[in-house]
Symmetry: C2
């Protein structure tokens, strides 16, 4: 049993990660403005952008492990928002306060947007990091600084590089959430041609990967992906297979941005072999669960 | 005439840069705890690590240009200090506040320690950045984030990568300062074998390069070096030629750290050709001036 500090505990990944940590018997301390639904040992109500408050609270918590999932994540806006700079600062303050309070192992959420996109499978060692967006650059820059700090201080540190994800409870403005809602409502769903392939994982698998990574001693960047990218078209068709409304999908109605490559696929070797985690939820099952979740929502 | 915000105005480089900016007719606003000796238009007394104060002061200053030289620089300690994290945060806050207040051109101080050392001449394009120290990683990480932010916001941004420097007023704990003091005092000066070659510039040339870079529209990293590395041995012998006491130099008495490469030399093409700046102070002249400066100090 470890005392684990979790940021972003009420976020999309955090809501799945906290129950897994509790099931494994850990003492979870959630750090952030909102209280998680799950029965955590402690909720430290703090604005993570308030450096002094974070230093005070993290210093008092005395956790051995840190799972840092929080970041600015407003759909659409997060790619270019200057808020990314604030989250770099907040993350550095957090990591240092955690270490100063005796922390030994930290895992933060990275992103496939740290890589130079456009080549083959994105590999932690072989693929250069050359982010095309401020979001990617901020995550990449933070990771570089944090890894060097961790090495200097003898702190064990890894980053889980999140690829594409979906699942119940996702925010609107994200692909699967918007498709499920539109098709269930019988609304038209204009989208890209859908031939681009993306590496999607169910959010519970993403959360499971983070929990496994946190429990391991693997350091450095670790892709959190399936290694099996699927055409976005087939993903949306899977939504329609459950939700109906397939005739309302207008493939090709929206232009794919020139920066969007044909394939974004994780090389999953580090996750599968070094961390020892394998995704468990088949795409068809996960999509069906997600569509049902949206069906059960009151229309709003 | 531009309104130029300068941090580190009372630091080693800043003390030479501010007079050059004033001579060129600029309105210099110094930002930091101590007041510069030079007659700046304004001194905003602020702790750069106090984010709220920096936002307030920078917002009110309304400068068009920013020369950001300040960083944690305690000799010896700065390579590994966690204070590097605080300076990343402070620098991000500063840059964002400057841009939010209408700033158009920013230059910050980088370091040759951002590069992977050990190869040929260090080149802004061809040499990978793979810092071996937390100081180098923090400067590298900040630059990556800042460059992406600047590109996103339409801000003109460059980094001057400082190599090795010397000159009057340098802190103790740095090579030329320590050699000059010891030899002038007739004390023994134990040092390395001195065969390693390093790219040294006089601090006024470094300051001149920063001022030229700030006045240009060159973006990205720019080496601030001579392109002509000299053996450390010859540098110390040049000190002894003026200070005397050459017999007290114990070359080889100190082990060179395994991380110290044979050569650290700047590829100066961007500085010379794109910025159009050439160093003016010959090493022998600069060393002689520096030794005289130490000779005129009261012993303390």
């Amino acid at each position: 049993m470890s005392r684990i500090l979790v940021t972003g505990a009420t976020g999309f990944i955090g809501r799945s990660a906290v129950p897994l940590l509790l099931e494994a018997g850990h003492e979870v301390h959630a750090l952030g403005r909102s209280r998680p639904d799950a029965p955590v040992a402690a909720h430290h109500a703090v604005d993570l952008l308030d450096a002094d408050a974070v230093r005070r609270v993290v210093g008092a918590a005395g956790a051995s492990h840190l799972l840092h999932l929080a970041w600015y994540a407003e759909p659409g806006a997060y790619w270019r928002s200057p808020a990314n700079l604030d989250w770099v600062s907040a993350s550095l303050v957090l990591l240092r306060a955690f270490r100063d309070a005796g922390g030994v192992r930290a895992v933060s959420a990275g992103t496939c947007a740290e890589y130079a996109w456009g080549g083959d499978r994105l590999d932690e060692i072989a693929t250069p990091c050359r982010p095309a967006t401020l979001y990617g650059a901020a995550k990449d820059g933070f990771r570089r600084i944090a890894a060097s700090y961790a090495e200097t201080e003898g702190l064990s540190f890894a980053t889980g590089r999140v690829f594409f994800l979906y699942g119940p409870g996702e925010k609107r403005g994200r692909l699967v959430a918007d498709a499920a809602r539109a098709l269930l409502a019988g609304e038209p769903f204009p989208t890209s041609h859908g031939r681009q392939r993306r590496d999607f994982l169910h959010v519970r698998d993403v959360a499971g990967a983070f929990v496994a990574l946190l429990g391991s001693s693997v350091s450095g960047p670790v892709n959190i992906g399936s290694g099996a990218a699927v055409p976005v078209r087939s993903l949306i068709e899977a939504v329609a297979a459950v939700a109906g409304g397939g005739e309302a999908i207008a493939f090709g109605a929206r232009q794919l941005a020139p920066s969007e490559p044909d394939v974004v696929e994780a090389a999953p070797g580090r996750l599968f072999d070094e961390v020892g985690f394998r995704p468990r939820i088949a795409l068809a099952d996960g999509i069906a669960e997600t569509v049902r979740w949206w069906r059960d929502r009151p229309v709003s």
